[in-house]
């Protein structure tokens, strides 16, 4: 679904199928490219989308194919906002251990949120089944336009 108002465009998908969710990502990234997001931005958006959707499918919906993930992608003049919602019970981000702490360094999982926070502004809405990711265009792109 695609809608547009006030200069902002929104793309929405609801699915439980990883392949469909990935196809949606490719459409989002195409839109990013035509909107002037840099290669670094696109790398960051791809990585964060993949991590957030994987968390939603695996940890949120616990791989239940009857449960869906809804992705809402909103484009502003110089930003993109992704909102990923699953049908799980949610989680408290404050309880996620710091994966960079020496005692956690060899843990095989728990790095997705850290990476998302590095590349995008992350907001987790209570009860924790909605993650919002915001990325502004790299400043070098803005400089180039002026």
């Amino acid at each position: 679904m695609c809608s547009s108002s006030g200069g902002e465009e929104t793309l929405v998908l609801t699915s439980s199928d990883p392949k469909t969710l990935r196809q949606f990502l490719e459409a989002v990234l195409e839109r990013c490219k035509t909107s002037g997001f840099s290669e670094n931005d696109i790398f960051a958006i791809r990585l964060c989308y993949e991590e957030a959707v994987a968390n939603a499918l695996i940890h949120g919906n616990r791989r239940d194919p009857t449960k869906k993930v809804t992705v809402r992608c909103q484009f502003g003049p110089d930003w993109i906002r992704l909102r990923i919602e699953d049908e799980g019970e949610g989680f408290d981000p404050a309880t996620v251990p710091d994966p960079t702490a020496p005692e956690n360094l060899t843990r095989p999982s728990g790095r997705g949120l850290l990476l998302m926070r590095h590349y995008m502004e992350v907001t987790v809405h209570p009860p924790g089944n909605i993650v919002e990711l915001l990325r502004r265009k790299s400043s070098s792109d803005l400089d180039r336009r002026h």
Binding site: L47, A54, T100, P108
Partner: protein, 119 residues
């Protein structure tokens, strides 16, 4: 079965010095099915207990789940008496290792030749 499913994630070759070099064949190591296949290939590689280099030159994207597989692989390889080196990691991917501080856990080299020399 799709062609992607038939393709091994790693092409493993033996260097004349006896080091096993596993080169990633895909530029994106993200899909759960691909990561699972990688996990199986790494398990077989760990069981050799050999000196191993993983060459990332083709990898442009990977998910955090791959990092977990690498951590388990290094641990199992060491348990079997082997050693691991990583090489040829693109700057954007190396940044992921830095953010997660896994650059301190793995021995990472710029080139395959440097990784070989350090064994």
């Amino acid at each position: 079965m799709s062609s992607a499913q038939k393709t091994p994630v790693l092409l493993v070759e033996e260097d004349p010095s006896g080091v096993l070099i596993g080169t990633f064949q895909l530029n994106r190591v993200v899909d759960e099915e691909v990561v699972q296949r990688l996990s199986e290939e790494l398990a077989a590689l760990a069981a050799t207990g050999r000196k191993v280099i993983l060459n990332f030159s083709k990898v442009e994207y990977l998910s955090s789940s791959v990092l977990g597989k690498l951590i388990n692989f290094q641990r199992r390889l060491k348990e079997h008496g082997g050693e691991l080196r990583l090489c040829c990691i693109h700057p954007s991917i190396y940044e992921i290792f830095e953010i997660t501080r896994l650059n301190t856990l793995f021995d990472i080299y710029r080139t395959e030749e440097e990784a070989l020399e350090m064994f």
